[in-house]
Amino acid sequence: MKKQKIILSIFLSAILIIATLSVYAEVGPTYAIVHCTVVPVSGPPVENGVIIIRNGLIEAVGVFGGITIPDDAEVIEAGEMYAYPGLISAHTNLLLEPARPPSQTQGEASSSQQPDEKPGWQKAELMAFESLRIKKTTIEDLYKAGITTILVAPEQNIFAGQSVVLNLRGESKEAMVLKQPFGLHVNFVTARGEYPSSLMGTMALLRQSFLDTEHYRLYKEQFTKSPSGLKRPEYNPFLENLLPYVINKKPIIFNCANIEDIKRAIRLTQEFKLNSYISGANEAWRVVDWIKKAQLPLLVSLDTRPPNMSKYVRQGDALKKEAEESIYPANAANLYKDGVKFALTSLGLSKSADIRKNLRTVIKAGFPEEEVLKAMTLYPAEYLGIKNLVGSLEPGKIANVVLTTGKIFDEKTVVQKIFVDGMFFEVKQPSKKAEPTSLDISGKWKAVVDSSMGAMDMTIEFIQDGSNITGSFTSEMGKWDITDGVLSGNELTFSISANIMGESMAMEFSGTVDEESLEGDISVQGENAKLKATKIPDGGVEENSL
């Protein structure tokens, strides 16, 4: 009996020791990255450099030979490579649990349904942190773009919720948090089927909410000081959530899809003396005077597609094309020329390939490479209030280091190794080439998409060129282009650049296909829908063409 106890206690302490060890293991061993070109961003590049990483932090940065390599360090030979600080995307909607569809009773909206007391727009209490779903593939994909730090914000509704800043070390969400909560996110959107269903209603609602917060605070304060003659104030959970932002001036991030949104955000900021950030803002150059005067932190999205209400897309195809190809990609360059400081974010882009491609587009449009680098390191670190932790390769900062085969934004450059919090990750290289396929899927397909919103009929038309697939997607919501399609064996993937009620949205399809049928998933901003399609025989008559 006694023996058993002893064994048990030995066993328990062994577990304890292992557990303790694992805590140390988490920060990773000591590394010495040698012989690389170090680009600290905060200072000039160092040829033949060394970076020492210990306990998750950068211990030293310098020239090889000028710094002693610690005995316990694992040496990473990085000759021919470049070392950059991990890039920061100061606004994403990634890694979030898909929003639950509105509770729908089957059949008629029955009386048994609990009336939802809280209006749909009111999600101020929603914490991105609580909804995080750590997807390894997403993080690995971000590594490919050299991104190690992101802000994750809830995406939908007028008061969308509160964001969190993560260092993408890829374990538990708790381990990744740099700032929680960071800010309150506000969208200039409308509610569906309830107040406010118009943008002017949204503006009124925002003003009334801010006013109410001020009044709530005033009343509460007064009551606490001296209650005589006053009714005890009721607790208001919604306004409680706004207090830190409206009264204590924590950041409110306004998502601005066009110039009017930017001006709306600036007006609200002035009316209520808010600590506002402007995000999205891919028309910012058009209101540069407002931007300069307001001096708000500006988070410019790399998604350079023109908004639907833009005058450039409503006056003929020629101008629209110009807008897409050159006018809008020059936003960052124009802001820079006007002396505006800003961070670049990946908002609206979910794939590293797109992020890298758009970074090159922005550079090609005239935004200097050194500035792009700052706009993805130093400036976002400053705006997110973490500049003492990340954003450059300096002793004392968190060891977020990206090792690349060349200059980071060059087309051929590949991110090979990455350190996050001093933990080492080998970056998976782009997958093999498409398998040759014997299938011919070109032609029209009749498709049904089944999502939480119900079933929808569509017609797909594929154009096949070897394993490359393009084409279009036609539904009652319009005609959308299919891009980047790859047919590999019987596996089919493609993207759809959709336009839903004026909002651009990227959808991804992946599934399997044979001569006659097609089946797979479409993902839209984290939500999945099933797509099934059958081939319309060539020469067959489309139903809706009658």
Binding site: R192, G193, S197, M200, G201, A204, Q208, K311
Partner: protein
Amino acid sequence: MKNKCFVLIVCLCLLGLINVSYGQDLLIKNGTILTVTQGEIPNGDILIVNGVIKQIGRDIQAPEGIQIVDATGNFIIPGIIDSHSHLALSGINEGTVAITSEVDMRDVLNAEDTGILTALSGGVTMIHTMHGSANPIAGENIVLKLKWGKTSEDLIVHEAYRTLKFALGENPKRSRASGTNTTPRYPQTRMGVNAIIRREFNKAKNYMEQWDRYEKLKAMKKPPKNLIPPRKDLRLEPLAAMLRGEIVARCHAYQADEMIEFINLSKEFGFTIACFEHAWEGYKIAKEIVANNIGISVFADSWAYKVEASEGIAYNAGFCANQGVLVSINSDSGERIRRLFNDAAKTMKYGGLSENEALRLITINPAIQLGVDDIVGSLEVGKHGDIAIFHEHPLSVYTRCEMTIIEGDIYFDRALYLKEREEMEKKEKETAKKKKGGGQ
């Protein structure tokens, strides 16, 4: 002394700035000028300096370097004003609830609405762009000048009345919340519409009194302890402003009975009705409308498109104008807006108005309704250089607008536009060709 000098200099600088940014210089030569308020001038010139009409007459000496528009053989009229429009907005109705006085069209201006170009091509220089008619009490409207290419803020006419949209009759009583929510919305009858408006004004009265009480207490030498301002209610603020006479009502109404009811409400609470919108049965109560100093803003014809318009008549505008009602012809449409001059001409046939009386319906009358008749609406020295030039008499069925000018700036030039369009079409074709070529 030094300080005063400084202030003076700053003021002068500001004045200079305002002048500089305010309009252009332009000389329009040798056209038939229809001033609307001061008769007709054949072979006349108009000189605009800094956006304001400086001189009207014959053989005006051209100041050096000024841009000249030759209007020989053309007709020059004041820029057309549409008293009831929904252009240049992102969203028109907040239809989910019946009372939405908190919304303001100023928040959703869209200066890039290509409808502005369409309107300019019909000689329109100013619009009153409004909330829709889904709600008994809707939102605050705004008056804009159609300065295509300028920012939304540049379009706003600050001199105009503040107006709040109301709606009676079929539209507000049949509105439902949009989207998935299809339950009927109170009110469902005309009496309901009337009752809900009264209820809101009672609330507003109460609200106003609450604030007055607070301000009074605050102003006391020893304000009471624990004095807290009332909650600011954006829905009641505009109604309170109406009770204080700072905002006037623009009320969508078709039938005579509902207009009379609304007049009674205005007397009950003491607010001002600037104008009834559409007012198809205005001819039945022209006397009452005149007696209460209310305008009407109407269509020229095309009545009977729904039950409450079934007793509309083409003579409505002309008859009411002859009775002394302040009548304007409106478009309420992004398409009809470009031929308001045709609609005005109809009142000559139906109602027997004179040319000048017909022109008034789309120029000075809407200007009076919007409270901007001291700056626009007719061609007079001192008013803004907002002008439309037609190749024939503007009330001829064969006429077309050649040029539209706002504050001396040419915003529409038909000849130039046609040339640009041709070039654009050429470019489009090239793009299409390239696209095709790339696909092969």
